[in-house]
């Protein structure tokens, strides 16, 4: 045990199923990720043109006009428990497992990170979707997986800013209970919607969609002072035209600051007062949203108005969840895998 794969006949994998991107890390030292989009050709002709019965990730996104496209993990969980969404998650998992597993005769043991406060029903749906491709499977809270992987097990707080949810989790030397965790929906998708609304209002004649807005955000997001004008191109009456979206971008990105500050304070204030300072001094941001320029500083500054605060970001936001899940998978005693 002790973190090593017991034998070559078992592959350990950690999976982070995200709204926007899903990542996998394996005990074979493979790490892969995919955009969480799944698309099926709309008709026979589309299937013939595309040459595949199902497309995933970037490929699905770029061919979306010919596809019934699905982003199955809206808000981090299988959307409606519908067959279609479960089917899409299955395709994602199959694809991810195929990317890292080349030997067919090995057992696969997986740990999957799900949002902090995922409802039981959703955990079950995710379990159902994953179980076809692995021999033994455990699900756990995503921020807990990050904390475990980062060795932040005591007096620390993880804030995982994803596309669908922001997950908060206080670690105090034991597995976090529901009272130690929070999930709010003012996350990446919320920013996209705010930005879309603001741009629609400012440029009523311009032509853009939510996917383009998401791309603008990923390239230019910031809070506080901008490093210069944020200028992007989108069509007006069919002609590509540059537009200044600096203020709209700032406003949309800053819209998540207050909910994060309030939820952090609310969660910490419920904790033993003797340790509150230590937790506030050890806050770690993870998830794609933590990459918003200036966000960590702004959050730290706002939280310092209430006392001590030290905040940092994980080094590898894309794989922190999958790496943590893999660390759990590696450490899990073998007998647990057999009976779960």
């Amino acid at each position: 045990m002790n973190g090593k794969t017991t034998d070559d006949s078992t592959l350990k994998i950690g999976i982070d199923l995200g709204t926007s991107r899903s990542a996998i890390a394996s005990s074979d030292e493979h790490r892969e990720w995919v955009e969480s989009y799944v698309g099926w050709p709309k008709d026979f002709i589309a299937q013939k043109v595309l040459g595949k019965p199902v497309l995933l990730g970037e490929q699905a996104l770029s061919n979306r006009l010919s596809l019934d496209i699905c982003r199955p993990l809206e808000r981090g969980v299988i959307k409606e428990g519908t067959t279609r969404d479960e089917e899409a998650v299955k395709e994602l998992i199959r694809h991810l497992v195929d990317l890292v597993e080349k030997k067919e005769d090995r057992k696969v043991h997986a740990v999957v990170g799900v949002p902090a406060v995922s409802f039981t029903a959703n955990k079950l749906a995710i379990k159902r979707a994953v179980s076809d491709y692995v021999d033994s499977l455990m699900v756990t809270s995503e921020p807990f997986a990050v904390a475990y992987g980062q060795n932040l097990l005591n007096n620390a707080m993880i804030i995982d800013i994803g596309a669908g949810t922001v997950d908060f989790c206080i670690m105090h030397g034991t597995i976090p209970s529901e009272d130690d965790q929070r999930t709010v929906l003012t996350a990446g998708d919320y920013i996209d919607q705010q930005l879309f609304n603001a741009l629609s209002e400012r440029y009523p004649n311009a032509d853009f969609n939510i996917n383009m807005v998401r791309r603008f955000k990923e390239e230019h997001s910031f809070v506080g002072t901008s490093k210069g004008k944020v200028e992007v191109d989108f069509p007006v009456n069919g002609k590509m035209t540059p537009h200044d979206i600096t203020e709209e971008m700032r406003g949309a990105c800053e819209s998540i600051v207050q909910p994060i500050v309030e939820t952090t304070l609310e969660l910490v204030s419920r904790f033993d007062p003797e340790y509150q300072d230590q937790i506030m001094s050890n806050i770690v941001l993870s998830g794609g949203g933590s990459q918003i320029r200036g966000l960590a500083d702004r959050l730290q500054q706002s939280l310092r108005e209430n006392g001590t605060c030290h905040m940092r970001c994980v080094d590898d936001t894309l794989f922190a969840g999958a790496d943590g899940a893999l660390a759990l998978a590696r450490d899990m005693p073998e007998e647990f895998w057999e009976t779960v």
Partner: protein, 386 residues
Amino acid sequence: MPTGTDTHTPDRLAMLQCVYEDNVRLGERRHRPRSRPLWHPRRQASWALLGVTLVFGPALGYLGPSVFIDDHETGLNSALQSSPPHPQPGLPVETTHSLAYSPFTPLEFEFAVLDGPGQFPDTEPAGWSDFDMLLRDDQRPLVAVFGLDVKTIVIDPGHGGTDPGAIGAQGTMEKDIALDIALRLRDRLRKSGQYRILMTRDSDSTLRLNQRVEFANENRADLFVSIHVNAFPDVRVKTIETYYFGAPKDTATTELAKLENTDSQYGMADFKSMIKKITHTMKHQESAALATSIQHSLFHNIHKLEHRMRNFGVKTAPFVVLLGVDAPSVLAEISCITNVDEEMKLNTPAYRAKIASFLEKGVQEYLRHKQSRTAGDNSNERQNNG
């Protein structure tokens, strides 16, 4: 790239054990079969029926043989079917007199949909039989007369599976909130160790209304609590309301009933037979008392946390689940998913836990009051006999 860690430290081993146990529990939940009871509390009711038949034999005889219809199916309740609760023309359809023995002061009813005082005449109307009087006795609700006990409580999380229920602006689904709160309520009620607590669904599964009703009746439910989350076109509205079966008093309630009754899978013949059950006076009395207790607990506790929360009170509505279940039944609309503030709060486990605790408080308060009513009735009886 993670390489794993030293699991010899006790904290890590304990954490891994917890992750493992959580997953084992999740697996059990998935595969747990629905239990069918070998023991039927309603058999007690049948004995009570025999007793009451002997005591009130003359009165029942007065009503004629038609009173004993379908008694193999509904036991005690069917014995009451031929006696409508409101035989007098001009009286309202509801048996609101049941609220007279509520544990709460009239203040709690300020928002309740009632016709107000004076619905029931102070003096005995001409033509009322002894049996009518028994049904209308404010001081002696039938559950106390029969000394009936509550053994099985069925909790019904609304919607589920392919039916998401109402959906909030941020995508929160009524079915998920209802299930989560129902599971919490189940765990809380189970802790008392006094009742058998069953769930119509304990996962995200599709369940038609008739299946819910059948489940409750097959399992001889003594109380039935259906949990829903309200939705309003006006997103500013945040309310709490609790229903029991009866005629709706406003068009909004009729519309809500239409929505909640969608896909009930009942035919007209079934409906006609079920509508007779409106005359189950005891069910009506107890449903009203339970609804009042739950509404009181929910509103007064949530109002302390959220002053803008409005009390829409105890209402009557023709929801199919409330009609079809033999036991006293209520449908609680615990919040408003269309209100963004409420939706955000409903997404936090702490708020859902609080709502579950307030629901439990309402149920327990009703049960305590019911016990005291039964005990009081028995003690009066002893005094009279003595």
